[in-house]
């Protein structure tokens, strides 16, 4: 998505990206970003929660109005009104995506190696 923001901006449109992944927006380099600490699949808020959706959108419009140089990421103070475990479960698909299923063994090995590395003391 950051790539789409960059391409539309380069074509002469003023863009504002709302994302739960400011990490990725920073890596790609986005003109204007509002970061929200929300789960995936509900970027602007919960379904039918008009007030919450509008509050995020109003913040996004403010970032669009006030940002005067590219690459700025503003962080929304909005909190997600659902316990973390429940929110993580709610956004995920019923089955893992094909790529996650294919790469799971590789990623698990990587995570295991990292754990071993973080446990070892330098000089050991």
């Amino acid at each position: 998505m950051p790539v789409l923001a960059r391409t539309l901006e380069a074509a002469g449109l003023s863009t504002i990206l709302v994302t739960m992944m400011p990490f990725w927006a920073e890596r790609v380099g986005v003109p204007r970003t509002l970061a929200v600490e929300f789960p995936f699949a509900q970027t602007l808020g919960q379904p039918h929660n008009r007030g919450q959706q509008m509050s995020v959108i109003q913040s996004a419009l403010q970032v669009l109005e006030e940002t005067d140089q590219p690459g700025i990421i503003c962080h929304s103070p909005e909190e997600w009104p659902q316990p973390k475990d429940q929110a993580i479960k709610a956004w995920q698909p019923a089955e893992p995506s094909p790529i996650i299923r294919e790469m799971a063994p590789q990623i698990r090995t990587l995570l295991r190696q990292r754990r071993i590395k973080s446990r070892s003391v330098p000089g050991d």
């Binding site: 998505m1 790539v3 789409l4 923001a5 960059r6 391409t7 539309l8 901006e9 380069a10 074509a11 002469g12 449109l13 003023s14 504002i16 990206l17 709302v18 994302t19 992944m21 990490f23 990725w24 920073e26 890596r27 790609v28 986005v30 003109p31 970061a35 929300f38 789960p39 995936f40 699949a41 509900q42 970027t43 602007l44 379904p47 039918h48 008009r50 959706q53 509008m54 109003q58 419009l61 669009l64 109005e65 590219p70 690459g71 962080h75 973390k84 929110a87 993580i88 956004w91 698909p93 019923a94 995506s97 094909p98 790529i99 996650i100 299923r101 294919e102 799971a104 990587l110 995570l111």
Partner: protein, 169 residues
């Protein structure tokens, strides 16, 4: 407090993102606002895999299932007068139920119609556009950059759009 990108990500998916290496290409593009927001026309774009049921096909998930390192780079057109029942969601990486229940969580057409009625923005474009965010692994956004996003930009500009709000899923 800065937003934690990994708060709602299971560790296996967080590792997936962390292994995707990327450096920003500089300079970052920049188009200053042409006019105040209450005179600006807005376009909406999501990468949530939304499509207009019965009018356009869903994204090509069949090919993605057969070829997991590939993601459909095309886009779909969503007219601003669409009703909830006409919205489909095709995306294998997120639960589609939230947008199937209220598309405004990803494509805030009704919120922007309200903002236009209140005079906070000038107007909303006749059509919004939807992509499907998974662009393969490692991600390949060449088709987005070179073909499909420029087409959406042209469509917006032909409609006189000034500003675009983008929302991934």
């Amino acid at each position: 407090m800065p937003v934690d990108s990994f708060k709602y990500l299971p560790r296996i998916i967080a590792a997936f993102y962390e292994t995707s290496d990327c450096q920003p290409e500089l300079p970052i593009p920049w188009t200053p606002l042409r006019r105040p927001l209450n005179e600006s026309k807005f376009g909406l774009v999501t990468s949530g895999g939304l499509f207009h049921k019965g009018v356009e096909p869903p994204f090509d998930l069949k090919r993605e299932r057969q070829e997991p390192t590939w993601g459909d780079p095309t886009f779909r057109t969503i007219p601003a007068n669409i009703s909830q029942g006409e919205i489909g969601v095709s995306h294998l990486h997120v639960n589609p139920e939230m947008a199937e229940s209220d598309f405004n969580v990803l494509l805030p057409i009704q919120r922007f119609q309200e903002l236009a009625a209140e005079g906070r923005i000038g107007s909303l474009a006749e059509n919004a556009y939807s992509f499907m965010g998974y662009q393969g692994y490692p991600p390949d956004t060449t088709a987005w950059r070179e073909t499909y996003a420029p087409q959406v930009a042209e469509k917006f500009k032909a409609e006189g759009v000034d500003c675009v709000l983008l929302t991934p899923s």
